[in-house]
Symmetry: D2
Subunit: 149 residues, 4 copies
């Protein structure tokens, strides 16, 4: 799927984001879902199934960092356009991620023409509706650097 | 599995590391393999199967960051002991990860009593034996902070 | 100055923080001022004099990172106690820092017994009272790891 | 000083780098010196005078991060051209920086057309010629994003 610009209609934008996510095989494997996608914001979540755990019974750090990374890429893409890539990010794990779902909310702090800086909170949500902040991240997203551009 | 100290015998250490990795369900899902595990070093790799890709046909960033994160945790654990957790890390993606296998080599730069700082290179290896550096990371590993300690 | 615990009285805490800052010769050189210091929060600022600039007429990145680093250390110390050190941090520069003063606000996101994770915003303030977000940072602060502890 | 391309002659390149550094008032204040500047590499050092210390008698973290940041910017500029800026970086402090001089060596890990990723080691050097690794950093440098480009 090659998408050159983003629709302005909120429903169409969310729909497009979901199609982009569905095109990521790894995201489908993790059953990730795009819960919100607006200019400057993306929310992504996944069910904390038993296959996502590490040896202590919590979500593996790699699952947490996947979700943060991908939410930040979508948030960056919401202001830079769909052809973006994550240049890099930093993440701090605050406490074990346990519960029913893991959710990442990424917000663009600053967006230029080619680069966006994004912050992200990753929270675990349990059956009783309680949420716990598990990780915070900060990343840089860039438009894809094509040789011909 | 609760392990309180690490064996000094190289084969026993590698064997223990592989058991710790096997206890991570998510790592089994990704077919991760511990290729080397010595004091101050861990090498982890996985096959780049089609389920690990994103929409451009490369390994998803989340797969790359999982491998870096986990290799750094193992490297940190090799000097701090097995009860460790990743406090946080930074990763830069350099180029798309394509090929047969993805491999992360993590090396302890500095290890104290409770904290270790680790650097990691993630490379893609293709069928012809060529390897390409895809990401570099830097992280902090800590012994697990128990309320009673 | 060796301080083993923090006072509960807000004025005494701010006063102690200012004494700790005054003991940092480099901070005095940069005329840094502790504007607020409460459990979980520290605000630090400095005047953007001509000696702090780089070749484009903006504050040098090193000045911005100094202020973020130090504000995060103070914020971490406000929950961990005064004997702390910055383990590491990540910073993203968003736009040039220009104006009369540079101010960093650091907030503790998560604090344990030995480690705290802190986020920080650095803003430039001009003569007209406008403020511009110039950098965001995220860091890990730890109690000092003494051989005897 | 506006420089549009870098000279190929090694001596002329080092000379240009030193002129760029001299144009940074803050770097002059810290008496920073460019010790090496080649495509993909920059070495920067400064004397650890008493004005650069914090309350424990070591170099302030802000001095260490300044030197890492600036060395990475120069290294990035050595492959991207002189009009560059640091997008962001991560730094881990390993041990107190004490001694006669502080030196940062930055090496480009990956350089594209608009972005470079750089790693940096910061070491303290004492009177007896011993050096101690004090901090490691990793950063992203970008060409300056002009509205008209």
């Amino acid at each position: 799927m090659t998408v050159l610009s983003l629709p302005e209609d909120p429903e169409a934008l969310l729909q497009l984001g979901r199609e982009l996510l569905a095109a990521q095989v790894f995201s489908s494997l993790l059953e990730a879902r795009l819960d919100a996608f607006r200019p400057g914001l993306a929310e992504l979540s996944l069910p904390l199934g038993p296959h996502l755990l590490q040896q202590y019974g919590h979500a593996h750090g790699g699952v947490v960092s996947y979700l943060a990374d991908n939410a930040m890429t979508f948030a960056g893409g919401s202001v830079l356009g769909p052809a973006v890539t994550t240049v890099g990010f930093s993440i701090n794990y605050l406490r074990p991620a346990q519960g029913e779902r893991l959710a990442a909310e990424a917000i663009v702090v600053s967006g230029g023409r080619r680069l966006a800086v994004v912050r992200c909170d990753v929270s675990a949500h349990d059956e009783a509706g309680r949420s716990t902040l598990c990780a915070v991240a900060q990343g840089t997203i860039a438009t894809i650097d094509r040789p011909s551009s």
